[in-house]
């Protein structure tokens, strides 16, 4: 499965570019969200949850409900107040993403009209889900400076080292930077995300493929198909050399690349695989160059679908 499709991405990008421009932040890194917030007419963000004694008793039960996982409310935009409320317990990167998401609801003018409803109508759940996907896309576009990140990555070699290094400058998580790097690359590359816990199917240890975190560039999809279609749901360590290396790599970027032959819509193609481990294992795939004089690793695994 690829990144969630946002049909209105062109409009989302226009709004993100407009918000950056209004804030005079097109060239500032990391993107100053407080400046963007002020530029689009919002008051400074506030904490959504108060410390225990500050909570009036009449709200206690409600707050317990909206703070409980998995449906914890991380942020909200009060249109009537022009204020964003954010969960104060979020990590720095998660807070920035949530902040960007809520800014999107304000910056995309068709959101406010959709969320304003009268007493007789409600927003269809599919429409709400679509607006939330747009807000997520807006957050990513904003935090990565619309085209700025991709302009910087496209001029460099293909490696997970590139987004991991830039994630610091853009104040995003390494995970988000790797996904953005691949999704927007002009080159045919793909990112496979694997769970860190070994699962046993019979006696065979394997790693779970995290479908929703896998992504490929447009050119990869055009040439070879969606990356998740090239693999089973679980990768047996015995069959995938890169999965073994991912397990051996406790954290960070693997300097050794392996090769893997996969059945694609263009027939069998050999890819180079590079691993990085954060909260998940990530594997960057790119077609092996035809004139590769230096073969980076040994084992070629052919694994038909």
């Amino acid at each position: 499965m690829s990144a969630l499709v946002v049909p209105s991405l062109g409009d989302v990008r226009k709004c993100a570019r407009g918000a950056l421009s209004l804030a005079g932040a097109a060239d500032t890194l990391p993107v100053p969200l407080a400046d963007v917030e002020a530029a689009i007419g919002l008051h400074p963000a506030e904490d959504l949850y108060l410390a225990g004694d500050d909570v009036p008793p009449r709200y206690a039960a409600l707050l317990r409900k909206i703070r409980s996982a998995p449906s914890r409310v991380l942020g909200a935009l009060g249109f009537g107040h022009d204020v964003i409320y954010l969960d104060p317990e979020l990590s720095h990167h998660r807070r920035r993403f949530t902040h960007g998401h809520e800014l999107g609801h304000k910056a995309m003018p068709w959101h406010q009209g959709a969320y304003y409803l009268d007493d007789d109508a409600t927003l269809d759940p599919r429409a709400r889900a679509e607006l939330e996907r747009e807000a997520n896309a807006f957050a990513a576009e904003l935090l990565f400076g619309v085209d700025r990140f991709t302009e910087m990555t496209d001029s460099r070699g293909v490696s997970l080292a590139v987004p991991l290094e830039l994630s610091t400058r853009f104040a995003t998580s390494g995970h988000a930077a790797m996904r953005h790097y691949v999704a927007h690359a002009s080159r045919p590359i793909a990112l496979l995300a694997l769970g860190k816990i070994k699962k046993y199917r019979g006696a065979q240890p394997s790693l779970t493929v995290f479908d929703t975190q896998c992504v490929e560039s447009d050119s990869f999809r055009d040439r070879y198909g969606q990356v998740t279609d090239l693999f089973p749901d679980h990768l047996a360590l015995a069959d995938y050399r890169f999965a073994v290396r991912a397990v051996e790599l406790s954290t960070g970027l693997d300097e050794v690349q392996t090769e893997v032959a996969l059945d694609t819509k263009r027939g069998t193609v050999t890819f180079l695989a590079e691993c990085a481990t954060l909260r998940l294992h990530f594997v960057l795939l790119r077609p092996r160059p035809r004139l590769a004089l230096h073969r980076p690793h040994v084992q070629v695994v052919h694994r038909p679908r």
Binding site: D11, K65, I66, A76, G78, Y85, G113, A121, P125, R128
Partner: protein, 125 residues
């Protein structure tokens, strides 16, 4: 000329718009946010439910009510048809799953709580 043939938007609202603008005019007026091709798809019925962003652009171009277009496209539905309801001027960005777990009373309480936060902030400053 622009007409919608099969969606709920078509019959009532768009018929009166026919003849006002060509597809190319609409594409230009929306700075290509709504393309000529996409408009043709709406007109032919292959896109039955234009997205809120497209409807927003069309409402601006034709100077018609955006909320009405949302309703006709099925993005806004009568409250009785769905368990989820959102009060007027409610918050955006609250996860769908969270709202599903809130009844109308809780949603009203959430709005009150946000107003409480706002007034608390004002009193402090």
């Amino acid at each position: 000329m622009f007409q919608m043939s099969s969606s709920r938007i078509d019959q009532v609202t768009m018929r009166s718009l026919a003849g006002r603008l060509t597809l190319r005019d609409v594409e230009a007026a929306t700075e290509k946010s709504v393309s000529n091709g996409y408009l043709s798809q709406i007109e032919s019925g292959s896109v039955e439910r234009p997205s809120p962003s497209v409807l927003f652009h069309l409402s601006n171009v034709y100077n018609i009510d955006y909320a009405d277009l949302l309703t006709r496209a099925g993005h806004r539905i009568p409250k009785s048809a769905n368990e989820i309801s959102v009060a007027p001027q409610m918050v955006a960005g609250v996860p769908l799953r969270a709202l599903q777990e809130l009844d109308e009373q809780d949603q009203e309480l959430l709005r009150d709580y946000l107003e409480f936060l706002r007034s608390r902030k004002k009193n402090r400053s």
